[in-house]
């Protein structure tokens, strides 16, 4: 057991010294202010046009309804819009501002948008060469001729990766809050957020809807983000074990994730696409009640699909890594 701790220390040290995490923090430090500024512009614009948030929400609903009357918009899209209208109405009825600007609210929005593409990319930036990098550099020959079982080495790599995925999510949340809070204020923890929308066809079942404080919502989001990122990291680990070149493993994973986000936005009638892992990544969508990419998908369904993908790729990774010949 002590040995495993030392092995994790090794892997964590390698990831740290490769300065990948530093790069991620830098990316966040550059991008979050950009998004904060964009949000700030929007808020300012809304303030100029609307007396208070109720008018703004009413206007939003009117806008959406306008687009709904257009013939050129496909029925699939309209379904989603109708759901959005019903939710906005629900917020109005309960006198809750759906987007009261604050540091916490910004962080919540950011996480919701980052879960499908941005955070997976950060995770891949850390982990996609965790095994293939050792192959490319040849260091795997020294690593695997030491008196340590191969499964322990891969496990140590996986655990080090878990550590960095957790750190990435934590740093994203903290930096988002700190940077956007500077503009929007550091409050908003207690602001109510509605969750528990159940979607049935084109209508919203509001029976289970309840308000929870925003900090709890954010925590739930971060948890789902962590889960989705871990699945991406595990898949990345598998590709890294299977593909010898670092560039190839990175590109393979990016292609898979981007393909998923394209498929989701097509709101496809190809229903079996819901078993693809990358279509299921937007777990936070289930919290705020946005319509799923393919009808019939629910949070338990997505979590189950992702878990199966994760378990299968772990099995493949360990099998190949422990049995495979090191030929290069």
């Amino acid at each position: 057991m002590l040995r495993l701790a030392a092995l994790i220390q090794n892997e964590a040290m390698k990831l740290w010294l490769k300065k990948r995490f530093l790069v991620i923090v830098l990316i966040l430090l550059i991008l979050i202010p950009v998004f904060t500024y964009a949000q700030h512009k929007m808020v300012k614009n809304n303030r100029e046009h609307f007396a208070d948030w109720r008018n703004q929400t009413l206007q939003q609903i009117a806008d959406i309804e306008n687009t709904l009357s257009s013939d050129r918009i496909p029925e699939e899209w309209k379904k989603g819009r109708r759901i959005a209208v019903q939710q906005l109405r629900y917020y109005l009825e309960h006198d809750i501002n759906p987007s009261e600007p604050s540091g916490v609210q910004f962080t919540r929005e950011f996480l919701g948008n980052a879960i499908t593409l941005f955070i997976p990319m950060l995770v891949l930036a850390i982990g996609s060469d965790i095994v293939s990098g050792e192959r490319t550099a040849g260091t795997i020959k020294m690593l695997l001729t030491r008196p340590v079982r191969r499964w322990k080495i891969l496990l140590a790599k996986l655990l080090a990766l878990t550590l960095y995925v957790s750190l990435t999510i934590a740093v994203t949340v903290i930096l988002c809050y700190l940077i956007s809070g500077f503009v929007f204020g550091y409050g908003g923890f207690g602001a109510p957020v509605l969750t528990g929308f159940r979607l049935q066809g084109g209508t919203v079942d509001a029976q289970a809807v309840h308000a929870i404080p925003q900090w709890r919502f954010l925590l739930m989001q971060a948890g789902l983000c962590w889960f989705a990122s871990m699945i991406v990291a595990i898949l990345g680990l598998m590709v890294s074990v299977l593909v010898r070149s670092t560039a190839a493993s990175m590109v393979t994973m990016m292609a898979a994730i981007i393909a998923g986000s394209i498929l989701s936005s097509m709101s496809s009638t190809w229903t079996s696409a819901k078993y693809l892992f990358s279509v299921n990544l937007k777990l936070t969508g289930y919290l705020d009640g946005s319509p799923p990419p393919i009808e019939g998908m629910t949070l338990p369904f997505s979590v189950a699909v992702l878990s199966v993908w994760g378990a299968a790729s772990l099995a493949v990774s360990f099998r190949v890594f422990t049995k495979g010949d090191i030929l290069n």
Partner: protein, 314 residues
């Protein structure tokens, strides 16, 4: 009988239906330096990778200090230090961090040991620099330091002279000899005999995946058979008379001298040296004028080349 440190038995490896290593067996006893020779592509590296559990053999076993590598890698590999091909270490870490990294993978290696191996390979001055700034010779030394960390009984160096300049090669030789004197047992592979000839006690020559020859220098030369060089005043007659004994084979004939009547000739023959006195008597009785007889021993280099090149050309 000394303790057997490494025992390789009937080791074979097939990759995609192609036999790379074919029924290789050899042993290495404590305190020995074994030269593992063969031309490029003979299966040296594949064999070495099977010794250190990087490749699983198709059949056969490797035993290190009594532990089977394939079934108990943890027990077997703790007695081994190795550099397989190039000494590749983590370039983004310092030499010291690299050594710490590998020290953590094994019990009983403390900072004092890291400092010790650093001074053994004389890398104290640069140990805290990043490995990517090291020269090849320094990387080689860091690789050896890593291999020595766990106080191994067996050190496996695959092509250790690759890419080193003559000075580096000389240093490495001295270093290897020094390690052997301290009781370490070494397996040094090379495709150039000349680089390790002076270093090794015994050799295993591998060619086409098979063991072509094995043994000490003397054994190898003896197995190649003796050569005897004859010089006759009349080449034609002399050689005809000489070959009447079926135990004597002609390897080469070199004519020299005046071509006027019948030129004098040298004949290189493969024959046992016990036959020399009776053959001399027989030829003298037959009227052959012998100008000289001498034994000629092939050098190991010649043997190695004939053994490994004949088939390549064919």
């Amino acid at each position: 009988m000394q303790e057997t440190v490494l025992s390789v038995q009937n080791l074979s490896k097939k990759i995609n239906g192609k036999t790379i290593v074919d029924d290789v067996s050899f042993e290495l006893r404590a305190g020995e330096i074994l030269g593992f020779l063969g031309p490029n592509g003979a299966g040296k590296t594949t064999t070495i990778r099977m010794l250190v559990d990087l490749i699983k053999p198709t059949s056969g076993t490797v035993t290190i200090c009594g532990k089977p590598v394939q079934r108990e890698p943890e027990q077997a590999l703790r007695h081994v230090g190795s550099i397989v091909e190039n000494p590749e270490m983590y370039g983004y870490m310092t030499g010291w961090q690299n050594l710490e990294h590998f020290a953590r993978m094994q019990d009983g290696i403390d900072e004092a040991r890291i400092r010790e191996v650093t001074s053994i390979v004389k890398l104290q001055d640069r140990i805290h620099d990043k490995v990517k700034t090291y020269s090849l010779g320094m990387r080689q030394r860091l690789g050896i330091a890593q291999a020595l960390l766990g106080r191994p009984k067996l050190l496996i160096l695959d092509e250790p002279t690759n890419g080193l300049d003559p000075k580096g090669i000389k240093e490495l030789r001295t270093f290897i000899r020094q390690l052997a004197q301290e009781g370490l047992c070494l397996l040094v592979s090379s495709h150039l005999l000349s680089e390790v000839q002076l270093l090794c006690d015994r050799f295993v020559i591998i060619h086409g995946g098979k063991v072509a020859a094995a043994g000490t220098v003397e054994q190898l030369i003896r197995s190649a058979g003796n050569q005897v060089l004859w010089q006759f005043e009349h080449g034609e007659d002399g050689i005809r008379e000489l070959l009447k004994d079926s135990r004597i084979q002609l390897i080469e004939r070199i004519d020299y001298g005046d071509a006027a009547a019948q030129p004098a000739a040298k004949a290189v023959t493969a024959m046992s040296e016990e036959l020399i006195p009776e053959t001399v008597a027989r030829l003298a009785a037959g009227g052959v004028r012998i100008h000289g007889v001498c034994k000629a021993e092939p050098t190991l280099e010649e043997m190695f080349l004939t053994m490994t090149e004949s088939e390549t050309i064919a």
